[in-house]
Structure formats: C-alpha cells, structure tokens
Symmetry: C2
DNA sequence: TCTCATGTAACTTTTGATATTACATGATGG
DNA sequence: CCATCATGTAATATCAAAAGTTACATGAGA
C-alpha cells in the first residue's frame, strides 16, 4: 500500500458502507481495502469520536454510517484523521538561528500556507454525497457502455 | 534532518554562496548544512545541469553561482531537484477497477492539482534575489536591535 | 456461556529518505 | 610528474515514519 493513503482509503470505505444494508465488519472492510482489520478500526476510531460512524460489538455488529452523507465533507474526514501534514516538503530546521534559513523558511511557509488554505477550502466544498453521486454516475455510464457493446457486438 | 527538506536546504546553500567570495567546497557547505558532502554534491548536480551553478575540481575548486540571483526562481530550483512530489497524501491505488475508488481519486486529484498549480505559480514568482534581499533586511534589523539593546542596557 | 465483533497496546515489517563509504576522475601547485 | 585537493558517482548502511500484525481485553448477542 502507498504511504499516507488513509484519506483515500477511508473515503473508499465510507462510500462502500453507504451502498450496503446493515453494519459492515472490520474484516469485510479490510478485505475490500486489502489491509488489516486493525488498521480499519484505528482509522475509524477518529470518525466515531466525531459522530460520523457508529460501531456495535457482538453478533450482527460492525460499522454503520451515523449521518447523512450530504452533511459530511472531505475536510471533516481529513480532520478526523488528525489533520496529517498535507505536504511532502518541509523546512530543514524550524526556528533556526541562521538568518538565511529564517528568510528561506519565511518564503516557503508563506507559499505553503496559501496552498494549504486553498486545499482545505476545496476539501470543505466536497461532500460525501457528491462523491457518492459521482460514483453512481460512473455506474450508469458503465452499464450503458456494456449494453452498447452487447447490442453492437 | 527532516524528511524532504532538500528544497529548503539548497536554498540555504545558494544564499550562503551568494554571500561569499570565491568557490565554496562541498565540505564547507556540508558543515554549514550539518550534513554530508556527498549529499551536497548530489543535490547540486541537478543545479549544475541547468546552469545555475558551476563546479571546479582541484585546488581552489568548489561551487560558484553561474547566474544572477534575480534570474532564478524557487520554481527553477524545485524543478532542478527533479520536481519531487509536493504532497504527503496519495491515492490508495492508481487506475483502480473499483468505481468507488475511481470517484474518490477523481475528487482528490482535482483538488490536489489545483493546489499544486497555485504552489508552483507562487514558487515561480519568488526569485533568489528576493530571498537574499529578505535576508539582508533581517540582518539590518538584527544589527539595529543589538545597538538598541546596548544603548538602553 | 460460547461466539462474534470491536478496542487497543505492543511489536514487527516495510519503505523512502538520508547519510556514509569507497573509489574514480580531473585540476592545480610544487 | 606526482602529491594533494576537489568533485562524480555507485553501492551500502542507517534511520524514522507508516503500515501491518499479534495478542489480549471488553462487551453484545444467540
């Protein structure tokens, strides 16, 4: 698995949960995501704290969505994961004595803060409902293209 | 040293080179950057290919700037490093068969591409000369504040 | 009360970045 | 020339963060 693909991963999980009736167990989700159930539980813990999902123990237990997808944005999910650093580039040192380094850091910090603000703002604009709608669009398109193939082939 | 601080590091090195007469050896720069000379050479190799710096072997050799700092942008330096991935977050899988994953990837890709465009554009606006000027400002301010301390203390 | 499922701490593995070693190439000064 | 200095680069080692795994505790049904 790629590094830092948690956001991508959780979104995948959540959309699948939306498609299915009843709770999904960590084992099922882990199988879907080709990872370990414990990893799923760890990731979902943050979402549960914020009330986006619920978990039930015992027979018939598992994970269920606790909110309408239209009320959850990608930004919410990102924050639930602990707002991990968005950027792969960092400063060599923080709070350096060297004035050269201070000048470098200041320039880079400004730039990256701007980009971060844009990113977070955009993530805040996209709801899980929008993602789900896009998924259903793709489903329709695939069905139609399959029918087309059959008719002409 | 922090991960992926190459950009920050090279900028630091370049500004220091601008302050000094004559070539700077990899050993000197490595000492300044608290790293290994070989790391310096590796990083500088990309800059040399693009003509931003020159290297000379033998006695009195080392690294020198080959261009006016006003003609080099942070974007140029970033590209010289091989345009490493800017973001710490990635997609779980590329080109997935799963339509859910496709929808997720599409949403994230759009968002990150936008942020990347903004970032690169901003990096292209800042010249090394501007960074150097900021450094000299800081130098003046520090001097003044030191004088002030002496006078009042 | 047995099984199923989550909750979590501890540990191991993997991976990417960085640092180091070793040796080759080329330039300069005596 | 040749000893020395400096870069050039491949190969290797180290390190830290992320991901995965194991082990065991807790709680909810059937």
């Amino acid at each position: 698995m790629r590094p830092n693909s948690q956001l991508s991963g959780v979104l995948h999980v959540l959309l699948h949960m939306a498609e299915q009736d009843g709770p999904a167990t960590s084992d099922m989700l882990a199988l879907m995501m080709q990872t370990n159930p414990v990893v799923i539980r760890r990731i979902m813990a943050g979402l549960r704290e914020r009330g986006y999902v619920r978990s039930e123990k015992g027979h018939g237990g598992g994970w269920t969505l606790a909110r309408d997808l239209a009320t959850i944005t990608l930004r919410d999910i990102y924050d639930s994961l602990g707002s991990p650093s968005l950027f792969a580039l960092g400063n060599r040192t923080e709070n350096p004595d060297c004035l050269v380094e201070q000048a470098v850091n200041a320039a880079l910090d400004t730039t990256f803060r701007e980009a971060e603000a844009l990113l977070l703002s955009r993530l805040g604009d996209v709801t899980l409902a929008a993602l789900s709608a896009d998924f259903h669009d793709r489903l329709q398109r695939r069905k139609r293209s399959r029918k087309g193939q059959t008719r002409h082939g």
